[in-house]
């Protein structure tokens, strides 16, 4: 991982692959800079030649050569802009891909630690800073040093004493840079801090809008916001003062240099020690010097920002997921090779082949699942989410899991596809420890529906086919029918092609769950995990969907969590969890009489059912 030891290692690796383009860019840039020196010299020659010429026609060569030189320069200017700026975008592209691939492989504990907003900021703002660093830093270094060097040489060639005199303000210039550079950076940081505060106030107010409305706190929040705005505006104006002073001083110093040149240089022309053309050219070169001088400050800023952003990106890229394939992997290869390796594995054959291809879910027997004394604790927590859970699920068994909120039901299911790894104990699927199975092989057979499923802002059909993109249409229709989504589908404006919006906002909660169910069924799972998957459906629909699933996947192993006894009753075995412990386990008929939690929820539900019947009778 340690390449060159600095945070620049990664981009240097990428830059190396564009060696030729960069070389061409830098050479073009240098040619451009050198060619830029010629027109002022031609002007000098022309002016000095004026007294000896008799007709304007003799000046035509100067016109032509100036246009010729600049046209040539234009070619090279196009060249360096296109290649150097282009390289920055190309490296950005690679870096972004690398980030995506890396983040894609991270496990749940990573995402619990790092909010998506923070990651997004790194993938957007920081990437911009890095791209700018790549685009401008080399350019500025080459451009500044070359321009400063050559201009000084030419100025010295024209008039050495005048050159030395005109550089008198230079020490002040560097002092100015040192002092104001620091000040501007400090104040920019203050502005950023105030901006963050402003953002927080808005964020907080909008998040707490119910409270704001309900206690008529609008005035209070307006006050807090007004204060934050005031602070932000104040710091901005503060920064503007410093910045204004900085620019004004720069102007004054270059102005002073120009005055020195005018007075002393003019005097030297007058004394005949400098030609008029030389005087004009000297002025032009002096003016050409000011931009690279000014860009020094920009350069430092660019470097600092770019370096900070690189560090933030390295921080992410250097994290390794704890849940990985046990088989020796190429994770330790340098990123460029790792990256290309990953690209190479993205061969079309591996993912367009339908996952369910060739298998018949109705006949394929589900795997056994064996929890052996599994304990699990979330990284930031000090209590056990699962405590010594031992559970044997036979091939094709249906296991219902229940318990109060926070008892560990979801966590238990999430252990199987290795969203978490046990802190202690182990889990075996089909007799093999899941940590020894390749992740893909483990997950390929699993269908999973979460209580609040994550859907993508695609069409219904894309979402249903999510796990089996190559699957034929009739399989999709079957899955949708099984999930009882077919009727809803007819009501959607574009049927299959209906776009469901960010996270499926266009759908109701129940529809989202049924899309997720269809998605899970599409992969023809041998092992189906339903995490309170029907909470948004009414009991009647839930029972219907449940019956559909059970008959459609007669041989699959199914584990599901639910609060409803009616669903749990369909299981072979019911497990009751409380604070991570298994407190009841057995056939539902038995547990219903065991005097525990399951009996209580069963009776409650019976009462509910009776109530409903009563209501129906009443309605008639």
């Amino acid at each position: 991982m340690n390449r060159g030891g600095s945070e620049f290692g990664r981009i240097i690796d990428y830059l190396k692959s564009y060696r030729r383009l960069i070389l061409w860019g830098v050479v073009s840039l240098m040619v451009t800079d050198v060619l830029a020196l010629i027109p002022p010299w031609l002007v000098k020659e022309a002016i000095d030649a004026l007294p000896s010429l008799s007709s304007g026609r003799q000046l035509l060569p100067y016109l032509l050569s100036i246009v010729l030189v600049v046209s040539g320069q234009a070619l090279f200017r196009f060249g360096w802009r296109n290649s150097l700026f282009g390289v920055s975008r190309r490296v950005e592209y690679h870096l972004r891909n690398e980030l995506f691939l890396h983040l894609q492989g991270m496990d749940r504990s990573f995402f619990l630690r790092r909010p998506v907003g923070d990651l997004m900021s790194r993938c957007t703002n920081d990437l911009v800073a890095i791209q700018e660093l790549i685009a401008f830093f080399g350019l500025l270094v080459v451009d500044s040093s070359l321009t400063i060097g050559t201009c000084l040489i030419l100025m010295a060639l024209i008039d050495l004493p005048l050159t030395l005199a005109s550089l008198a303000p230079l020490p002040f210039l560097s002092l100015c840079f040192l002092h104001f550079g620091r000040e501007v950076r400090r104040k920019s940081l203050e502005v950023q801090t105030e901006l963050a505060r402003l953002t927080d106030v808005v964020q907080e107010t909008v998040s707490g809008i119910r409270l704001v409305h309900s206690y008529a706190m609008e005035g209070v929040r307006r006050g807090v916001y007004g204060q934050a705005v005031k602070g932000y505006v104040g710091k901005n104006i503060d920064l503007a003062k410093t910045r204004g002073l900085f620019w004004a001083l720069l102007g004054l110093l270059t102005g002073t240099a120009a005055v020195i040149v005018l007075w002393m240089g003019g005097g030297r022309v007058l004394e005949g020690r400098l030609s008029l053309g030389g005087f004009v050219a000297f002025n032009t070169y002096l003016a050409m010097l000011s931009w690279p001088m000014m860009s020094l400050g920009f350069m430092v800023n660019l470097l600092q920002r770019g370096r900070a952003s690189l560090e933030r990106i390295e921080e992410i890229l250097s994290e390794t997921p704890s849940i990985v394939d046990a088989a020796p992997s190429s994770m330790n290869a340098p990123p460029s090779t790792r990256y290309s390796h990953t690209v190479a594995t993205t061969s079309p054959t591996s993912s367009t082949s339908p996952r369910a291809g060739g298998r018949d879910p109705a006949r394929d027997l589900g795997p056994s699942v064996h929890f052996d004394s599994v304990s699990f604790r979330y990284p930031a927590s000090d209590r056990w989410a699962l405590a010594e859970v031992t559970l044997k699920v036979h091939p094709g068994a249906r296991v219902g899991i229940t318990g109060p909120v926070g008892s560990g039901k979801s966590t238990l299911l999430e252990m199987i596809p290795r969203i978490h790894d046990p802190t202690r104990g182990s889990i075996a699927v089909d007799g093999r420890d899941i940590r020894e199975l390749p992740l893909k092989e483990l997950r390929r057979h699993i269908g999973w529906v979460a209580q609040e499923p994550f859907l993508f802002s695609d069409s219904i059909s894309d979402n249903v086919r999510f796990g089996a993109p190559g699957e034929a249409e009739d399989a999709m229709i079957r899955a949708v029918r099984m999930a009882r989504l077919d009727k809803d589908l007819d009501a959607f404006p574009d049927r299959w092609q209906t776009l469901i919006g960010e996270r499926g906002v266009m759908l109701s909660g129940g529809q989202r769950q049924r899309v997720a169910l269809a998605r899970a069924l599409m992969v023809a799972p041998r092992l189906l995990l339903l995490d309170d998957a029907f909470a948004h459906l009414d009991a009647e629909t839930e029972a219907e969907v449940m019956a559909n699933i059970l008959s459609a996947l007669p041989r699959a192993t199914i584990l599901f969590t639910s609060h409803r006894a009616s669903s749990l009753n369909k299981a072979d075995t019911v497990v009751v969890l409380a604070e991570g412990w298994v407190i009841e386990k057995g056939q539902p008929e038995m547990l219903a009489k065991a005097g525990g939690y399951f009996q209580r929820i069963s009776e409650q539900e019976e009462l509910m059912a009776e109530l409903a019947r009563l209501e129906k009778r009443g309605a008639r």
């Binding site: 997004m120 707490g208 102005g255």
Partner: protein, 604 residues
């Protein structure tokens, strides 16, 4: 960090966003009006600054023609002195220019910021139900930031550039109109280059933004749904898609780089043609002694500056584009009508008796999905009513309607005999106090969170109320006590503490009518006793509507209202309802069986 949070919002906005719109500009200019004085001052400074910038070449000309060529040493000193003076004045004008521009921009933005914030505050609950927080933050903060750039770097600077351009033109014509015409002869070339570039740059810029927004939205989705992607083994397919988007974005960038790489050298060539023409034609006239050499030099220097604004304009173009898109989004938000405006002349009901009446109220969050279907309920002053029913029976919707977070589709709600739609919302909400299930805490001290920054409530009163509710011991248990910083949404407080804070808050505001959504989550027995006791004191002598989950609360109520599927099914006292073999009877038995069951049912 926050910018990224609504990438898909950007996407949506970007598709909507048009680029240039005169109406948009006029509206934005309207924000300048209150600061006319400052704006004029800015323009004056800008003009002086631009003109001082032009002094240099002219002084050089005078120095050459009047001093150097005439061998006038003292005259040269005078010119040098004038040049120095111009530099010093330039120093002042440059400083003022940067400072005043920022000052004006920021002042103008204050009003826009406050307007946007106020507008957000005025929106009704249904707006917030469908608008992600991140998007509003972007509108109120980042977008306005971009509009500020439009002022400080865009409009006013462009004006400065125009002053420079016209200043140069005037000076050139004044020095020598024939040579000036030569310089102007290249302007059609510049205009053509600009026009060609502008059309392509705009298009390229739009495509870049669009692709980038799409790319980031997809990235965000893949981060939020990482687990789903992994379980369904979609990593490769999704990466392929991402790679395609990434590649397309890169290619759009490369395209726009190509355009600017073409444009800038073209401008250079045009400038060189101009320079060559000056040397050729001007030099010829110097030879004929029709023109002084100094004028020629001044022309050469002015021509350089002539092309600077052209380059600036091209570079500023993207900023302007972004700013226009941001203005459109911000003004679009301001144009979104507030959902439930106050009546023009709100009634001021005199009484504070605490009367509430629901009259045939029908309500649905989404059309067709009725949550309330004709609710009739009258609460008499001082009465405590417990609302009982399963999740989704419509109990919580009643709260929103009473505070006018939503309006019913049919029927009406009367508070103190007056339709809530005739009240001013602020007054209504002070009259009807709500204690929600989960308390929201702003960053700040516990004390301020209790009195909600209301200066009329003294610290002593807060303490007194907390003591009277019996919650002070619990507050003092929190490290820091009243001064404790409870920000970050109070994650360091226990559930019980949070509930009691909500009670104390409500009592401090002393509403005539109290609506309480009893929390369903379980707390330890000691806190349970505290809560029960505090609630008893809170509702004493006050009209109270309680969405009840605790048997004790229900039993203590004057009246129990049983709701089911948006309808009131049974009403009466505990004894009355127990006497009939109805819903309540069964619910009560159920509740007795499993306190837990009802709780986790409701917690969903």
């Amino acid at each position: 960090m926050r910018q990224a949070s609504d990438a898909s919002g950007i996407l949506e906005d970007e598709i909507r966003g048009r680029t240039y719109d005169i109406r948009l500009m006029t509206r934005l200019m309207g924000y300048l009006r209150p600061h006319v004085g400052l704006v004029l001052l800015c323009l004056a400074v800008l003009m002086v600054d631009s003109l001082l910038d032009l002094a240099g070449p002219y002084l050089t000309k005078v120095a050459i023609d009047d001093c150097i060529l005439r061998k006038d040493h003292s005259g040269l000193l005078q010119i040098a002195f004038l040049y120095m003076l111009a530099s010093i004045l330039g120093f002042a004008s440059q400083y003022l220019r940067v400072y005043l521009l920022q000052l004006t921009g920021q002042r103008v933005m204050i009003r826009l910021r406050m307007e946007v914030f106020d507008h957000i505050l005025r929106m009704s609950q249904s707006f917030f139900d469908r608008t992600p927080v991140g998007r509003l933050v972007t509108r109120a903060v980042q977008d306005i930031e971009v509009i500020n750039e439009l002022f400080t770097q865009g409009v006013i600077v462009i004006f400065g550039d125009l002053v420079t351009l016209s200043g140069i033109t005037v000076v050139l014509f004044w020095m020598d109109w024939r040579l000036a015409l030569v310089v102007l002869s290249v302007t059609p070339l510049v205009a053509v280059a600009m026009a060609l570039y502008r059309v392509r740059a705009r298009d390229a810029y739009r495509r870049v933004r669009l692709h980038l927004a799409r790319l980031n939205a997809y990235l965000q989705e893949n981060l939020s749904g990482a687990t789903t992607v992994q379980i369904f083994c979609r990593e490769e397919e999704n990466f392929r898609r991402f790679d395609t988007m990434n590649r397309e974005t890169r290619d759009q960038y490369l395209r726009s780089i190509r355009y600017s790489s073409l444009f800038f050298p073209c401008v250079e060539v045009i400038a060189a043609i101009c320079l060559g023409l000056i040397i050729w034609y001007g030099g010829g006239r110097v030879i004929q002694e029709e023109l002084l050499p100094g004028v020629l030099v001044a022309f050469i220097q002015y021509t350089k500056r002539f092309f600077q604004p052209v380059r600036d304009l091209a570079e500023k173009y993207n900023i302007l584009q972004g700013a226009m898109a941001a203005s459109e989004r911000v003004l679009g938000l301001l144009d979104t009508p507030e959902g439930l405006p106050d009546p023009p002349q709100p009634k001021r009901p005199g009484g504070r008796t605490g009367k509430v009446a629901f009259e045939d109220v029908w309500f649905a969050y989404n059309p067709g999905e009725w949550v309330l279907r004709g609710v009739n309920l009258e609460v008499t002053p001082g009465e405590t009513v417990a609302l009982v029913g399963a999740t989704g029976a419509g109990k919580s919707s009643l709260i929103g309607l009473m505070q006018r977070a939503y309006d019913p589709q049919r029927g009406r709600i009367k508070v103190e005999g007056t339709d809530v739609r005739l009240w001013s919302k602020e007054e209504l909400r002070r009259h009807v106090g709500v204690v929600p299930q989960d308390v929201f805490l702003f960053s700040g001290s516990l004390l301020e969170n209790l009195r909600l920054w209301d200066p009329r409530i003294s610290e002593d009163l807060v303490r007194e109320v907390a003591r009277s509710l019996g919650v002070e011991p619990l507050i003092l248990e929190i490290p820091g006590g009243y001064a404790a910083d409870v920000g970050e949404r109070g994650q360091n407080l226990s559930l019980g503490q949070r509930q009691l804070i909500a009670f104390a808050r409500a009592l401090l505001y002393d509403p005539a009518i109290l609506v309480l959504d009893e929390a369903t989550s379980s707390v330890d027995p000691a806190t349970e006793v505290l809560i029960r006791e505090a609630m008893r004191r809170l509702i004493k002598g006050r009209t109270s509507l309680i969405i009840a989950h605790r048997l004790s609360t229900i039993r203590d109520a004057d009246r129990i209202v049983v709701m089911q599927r948006g309808l009131i099914r049974e009403e009466g006292t505990h004894q009355e309802l127990m006497a009939i073999d109805g819903i309540y009877h069964r619910l009560y038995r159920m509740q007795q069986l499993v306190e837990v069951g009802g709780r986790h049912g409701a917690a969903q």
